[in-house]
């Protein structure tokens, strides 16, 4: 069975909510929709306080090429367009909407009927995806339409669909693959059409055998409707869901240092994104809701279909509230997610899960001296030397940090995870990446 060759770790999977079907979470009374839910320029607000909006109505339009529009996830009245704190307490321009009823834009098809035939050209599909505000749903939130438009002189040869969900605890992609198999596959077909690729692979780790089976079965049934694709089971290893790792695992190709997947002719998209693409193209539905796993030390781990902008606290209430000994709430998975300080913050396009840790797991162990065991080096999927980088960052020797390829770091956290001395390697490396990034940018500007 395939996997990526270099590094990686095996954290306990803890997929507590894998068997729990997706429930629809009731629409909350108020939603907060940040205008920056994606990488790139924040959207520009096109509504003002007092405006009436419907579900799917445009709230903010894309500001530039690398940007994405934002749509209203509810119907109601705009209560304000102002600075609201996100999960980390950092404020950003957001649209607050008081919910009234649940009225959708008339062109949105809300039936369950799966649509197959699409006569649109590649350009039309990409336009539709861009207008629907679709971004990478795995958590990176890079605008999908940008990825579907390879830069001049580069050609995508294959499309790789990421159904790996290698983060422990998270099950939202798994549930989407199980419950919306046909839709996901149609979405994958649309993505393949948009890119004009001949080969498409759907990579799924073999801890989800049910998803692999059902994908294969449904694909067999609707074969005629779809471009050729292959469902590839992968050996479980974190961080298989990293773009570069997934490409190497499936195709054997290696993205060069500092390069992008397109440099080796690959485009990677998440299964959640494929589902959103299906809904946008076949159902005219912009990205206004997503599946979120709420799990960890909660009473009833679950998967919810949540409107964007719903406060995280509402999700936590739905699984029985915060437990007594709650130590940490994480937006995303335990390896790459962000710890939250503000639980009133809204669910955004990139929120794949909310993970609650108890006090004991929340606090890190005390740090001790590096024993030079080299484990960080063997687990680093990018072949970096974390034990060397971390002290260099602390000494602020940025030129050496750069020559040790800090910019190749994918921030997967394997080094910190594995370190027996419990050194916060990634904390330092991430800081080094930010500083070196600044230095590189100022050098380019000069």
């Amino acid at each position: 069975m395939k996997t990526f060759p270099r590094g990686g770790v095996h954290p306990p999977e803890n997929k507590l909510s894998a068997g729990v079907p997706v429930e629809v979470l009731p629409v909350p009374g108020t939603v907060v929709v940040p205008l920056s839910q994606h990488l790139g320029a924040p959207a520009e607000a096109v509504v003002a306080k007092g405006d009436r909006v419907l579900v799917g109505q445009l709230l903010g339009k894309a500001a530039g090429f690398v940007s994405a529009p934002v749509h209203s996830p509810v119907s109601g009245t705009v209560a304000g367009v102002d600075m609201v704190a996100n999960g980390s307490g950092i404020k950003g321009l957001s649209v607050t909407i008081s919910v009234e009823g649940d009225e959708w834009m008339p062109q949105i098809d809300r039936t369950d009927r799966v649509g197959y035939d699409c006569q649109m050209s590649a350009e039309e599909i990409v336009k539709k995806i861009a207008d629907a505000g679709i971004v990478g749903m795995g958590g990176a939130t890079f605008p999908t339409s940008v990825k579907l438009t390879p830069p001049q002189g580069k050609k995508a040869e294959m499309l790789i669909i990421n159904g790996v969900e290698c983060e422990p605890f998270l099950t939202s992609d798994h549930r989407v693959m199980l419950e919306h198999t046909a839709e996901v596959l149609v979405g994958v077909g649309l993505l393949a059409r948009a890119l004009g690729v001949e080969k498409t692979f759907v990579g799924v780790e073999n801890n989800k055998p049910d998803a692999i089976d059902v994908l294969r079965k449904v694909y067999g049934n609707i074969l005629r409707e779809l471009p050729p694709m292959e469902i590839v089971p992968l050996k479980v290893k974190y961080p298989q869901g990293g773009e570069k790792q997934l490409i190497t695992a499936i195709t054997g190709r290696t993205v060069p240092s500092g390069g992008l997947p397109i440099d080796v002719g690959c485009v990677v998209q998440n299964v959640g994104t494929a589902f959103a693409v299906y809904e946008a193209v076949m159902k005219n539905k912009p990205l206004v809701e997503r599946v979120v796993t709420v799990t960890g030390a909660v009473e009833r781990p679950a998967n919810f279909l949540v409107r964007i902008g719903t406060p995280v606290s509402a999700l936590l209430d739905a699984v029985g509230g915060l437990p007594e000994d709650c130590g940490k709430v994480i937006g995303g998975g335990p390896m790459m997610g962000r710890a939250m300080s503000n639980l009133d913050a809204p669910v955004t396009k990139g929120t794949s899960g909310i993970l609650v840790l108890d006090r004991r797991t929340a606090v890190r162990c005390a740090e001790s001296d590096c024993i030079k065991c080299g484990k960080c080096l063997t687990v680093c999927p990018m072949g970096l030397e974390p034990y060397l980088l971390a002290p260099l960052v602390q000494k602020q020797r940025w030129d050496e940090v750069e020559t040790h390829r800090v910019m190749d770091c994918i921030e997967c956290g394997c080094c910190s995870y594995t370190c027996p001395a419990k050194i916060p390697l990634l904390d330092w490396i991430r800081l080094g990446k930010a500083e070196v990034g600044k230095i590189i940018r100022s050098r380019l500007n000069r």
Binding site: A85, G89, I90, K91, R338, S341, D427, W428, L431
Partner: protein
């Protein structure tokens, strides 16, 4: 025995010859004044002047003199001596000192969360807004302390805020760059070290600031009204006292409802006998 002596002598002469040739061949002609000027500079090699070390500045002063070149550590006296040596007019700058513009001590700013990452303000700042309700205030992990070459800053354990020593601070500005929240400002030292400044950088609306911290500037504007010298400006819910215009009358200090305006090194006010 004699053989050994001969071998060593020959070897010595040979190597001395090599050294001689190399020294002649690769000799670099350098203005001898650079050495003298370097000797006049403080020798802290802190880089505050923008050059790599004191020799860098000395070279620049000798070869490429301009008014812009200034050693903040040595200050007016050092620059005067250097200018005299080089036969130039001395550059005089007002002595400055690093000022911490945050009064959010543990007592007035409730801590809402607990940071558990690498002990660094830079890491904390890139992780979240801060452990209190204030997203502008001091993170308290002492990046400014560790970056100071002059041992002029320490963390006050009781307040959780950094304290700058007026005597030791050389206004090199390293802490200003190190602080991810841009709290530290280089300000005029003032006569006898007397300064009046707003000890807060929060741009939140007044209500938000007040909820997060009892000592924050809430942007009420009382200080602006009371100032007779037009020295206080209000922008984004935050007052700023212009050190050049400020006459140190201290009227604003008493007027500030949250005590965000701080005075330093003034003699204690005389207690006015109640009539």
């Amino acid at each position: 025995m004699i053989y050994t002596v001969v071998v060593l002598v020959v070897l010595g002469v040979l190597l001395a010859g090599v050294l001689f040739v190399v020294a002649k061949r690769f000799h670099v002609e350098e203005d001898p004044r650079i050495d003298t000027v370097e000797g006049l500079l403080p020798g802290a090699n802190c880089g505050a002047c923008g050059y790599p070390g004191c020799r860098g500045l000395a070279t620049a002063l000798v070869t490429d003199y301009s008014e812009e070149l200034y050693c903040p550590v040595g200050g007016a006296s050092t620059m005067g001596v250097v200018a005299e040596f080089l036969g130039r007019a001395a550059v005089v700058r007002e002595p400055e000192v690093a000022v911490v513009r945050c009064g959010g001590s543990c007592a007035v700013r409730p801590v809402l969360s607990h940071f558990d990452g690498a002990r660094s303000c830079a890491v904390a700042a890139s992780t979240y807004a801060g452990q209190t309700g204030c997203s502008f205030g001091c993170l308290g992990m002492g990046d400014c302390v560790s970056v100071c070459d002059f041992d002029a800053i320490y963390m006050d354990a009781s307040t959780g805020l950094p304290v700058v020593s007026d005597e030791k601070c050389t206004s090199c500005g390293k802490c200003v760059k190190a602080c991810p929240k841009v709290i530290i400002e280089l300000r005029r030292k003032g006569p006898k070290g007397r300064r009046v400044f707003v000890s807060c950088v929060s741009r939140d609306k007044g209500a938000v600031t007040r909820k997060a911290c009892q000592a924050g500037c809430i942007g009420c504007g009382k200080c602006v009204k009371v100032c007779e010298f037009d020295a206080i400006a209000m922008a984004d819910n935050l007052a700023y006292i212009d050190p050049v215009k400020c006459r140190l009358c201290r009227k604003c200090v008493g007027e500030c409802p949250t005590g965000a305006i701080v005075e330093t090194n003034f003699p204690p006010k005389k207690v006015v006998a109640e009539v």
